[in-house]
Amino acid sequence: MRERILGGYDDFVLPFMTGMAFILIYLFIGLIRIFRHMPAQDRTRFFKSLLSPSIMLKNAKDIVNDCLLHVKIFKRNILLGYMHASIALGWFMLIVIGHIEVALYVPQRNGILYYPVFFRYFVKQEGALTLKGSFFFFLMDFFLLIVLSGIGLAIYKRFRSRALGMRRTTRPCLADRIALACLWSIFPLRLLAESFTAGIAGGSFLTKPMHWLFSNFLSNDLHILPTWWAYSIALGVFFLALPFSRYMHIPTEAFLIMLRNAGIKASHPRKGFAEAEIYSCSSCGLCIDACPMNVNKRNLKYSSVYMIRFLRRRNEKKTKAIADKCLMCGKCVAVCPVGVESCNLKRAHRATRYNTLQYNYSYLGNGSHPAHAHADTQDTPDILYFAGCMTHLTPSIIKSMEEIFKLSGSKYVFADKDGGVCCGRPLLLAGKEDAAREVIARNSQLIQTSGCSKVVLSCPICLKVLKEEYKLQGIELLHHTQFINSLIKEGKIKVKDGGESLVYHNPCELGRGCGIYKEPQEILQQVGELRKGEYEGKESICCGGSLGSLTLSYEERGKITQGSLNALTGCNPHKIITACPLCLKTFAEKSPVPVMDIAQIVKENIYTNTYETYSL
């Protein structure tokens, strides 16, 4: 193998080099912009994270899993996963092997950007093919075949997306279409170009037979240059269209993974970390099917993918509409293959508008607190029960919890018996962050000085904010499902099977918000026959009552509630069980079957002393 073209240059590399230079400069400027707009402490955090071995390892693992193998998409749909993995991994391997070939055969051309891409054009095979040579040729053809199979699937998906597990996909914009056309043509053109050149540069199981086939009716040598030109132009145009298209996620995603692993969160809806997220969005549209607002095919325009698209185009009006409408249930974040935390972007966007609104919470400082009365005395109960605002609207939960506390012999103090203050999460969700910090600081102080070692909460909304923002030292935070489950396990209360079929609605804030899935299931399996709803666990959908949405009207919420109820009652349960007072109240209004909180059904099926004496 030796160089065929002296000087190692031909004019056809120019389109490729133009595109390449453009994209490299664009990425470099983008990188500087992101760093410049990031808060200083985030920047130092990022550079420090690059030195930590554990984060380095995690970065490498995540980049291979997400950017090359697309494990997350494989878990969703095997064909869809194969389509992404074949193109990403195949292309990556073509680049790597291309470089190895150059390093092995023409080491004097090392470091020239275009050389590995057009390697076959520049070299000539001399003498018999060595084993090493045929091995690399085989690999090149093999990975080209893999990429081509992925492209084939992609073309099929464009016309029948349902076959690959997607009901609805996004509408591509002009730059998307241009980039897509280039992406589809790059690899077939490469195959053609390498096939025509196979007579000179050699080939393997794919290019050699193609060469032989073409030689029967085409004069091969005349077609060499035009196809290499076409290949180069396709690459060049693809790179030129890249920054304006959805395929920008290819170079950006790895960077986003590194930023995320460093623990950086969005602090501005458009700049810094947010910019990395916006450009990492692949516009795949998985969030369209996921969004509970899209029930009955309405409100399609309010999906996260469109919000990110409008953020990218700086369309303030449309971004605002979507940011305010979102339920913040977090399902789009849970299904996102790139892991774009769009809810944080929406929160940051709300903060730009609502954070400056005036407020006055000086009254919080004067509120007396029942927990305080116990602070100095010796007999401080271990457990602080915090019901939360919403639970006060569903007193049945409070009554059940009081009963459970009593029957299990747990000593507790009821923090907000006379109606306490809000936990601060609704303020955070509305973007009034400074106001929320004030409430959080005040409540933290109250809980910290109460002398309790455990806080039991009935409302998952409160639980999430207490877990994430309060920074309580030495205090265990439990949702009442966790607390009840531990009581049952320790034998402090005994429950019986009520003989009813139940279906469990996973509240967004408890499941995706706090990661609590196991405990409610364990309890419900003991008090009745637990059936499966249409959406389980991480995929569960919002009840429609979420505090996250600011502008969703009652009618629109009603549709979401109905959709959610339909999904739950498909298995004909006697009762719907939930673990959030807000879900309970929302469902109770429309549900055809009784809706109950988990605390209520446990209280109904609890063995009490009186019950036992009667039954004896």
């Binding site: 305010d324 508008r353 609502y354 609104l357 005036q358 407020y359 006055n360 919470y361 009254y363 919080l364 004067n366 509120g367 605002c389 919403m390 006060h392 609207l393 006379d418 109606g419 306490g420 203050v421 809000c422 601060g424 609704p426 303020l427 509305a430 009034k432 409430v439 009552g545 505090l547 600011l550 502008t551 969703l552 009207s553 009652y554 807000l582 109240k585």
Partner: protein
Amino acid sequence: MVKFGFALNPSSRIDLDKTDREKFAQLVELEPDVLKCMACGSCTASCTAGKFTPTSVRSAILEIQNGRWQQALDMLKGCLLCGKCTMVCPRAINTRHLILAINEVYQSGK
């Protein structure tokens, strides 16, 4: 002046000619639900902040309709946006957004 031991109070009559209806129109555009209120007071009865302060959505809406928006703003300063009023409202008013919208419209350009 001779003091007679009594005086005339300033009129508590609201002069609708002097109030700025433009802002109210803006508010209606942002959140049309403001027109739905029937002043039942469920929001005030359930209000978390109302335990400690005179926070009341019902009164705030009335004050705004009467053109006294400064009083309305003062009344809503203590609001924690917890959303209880939205849950209890029999007219299904989106009170959280209404409160944000009132603040947005009337706080700007005093």
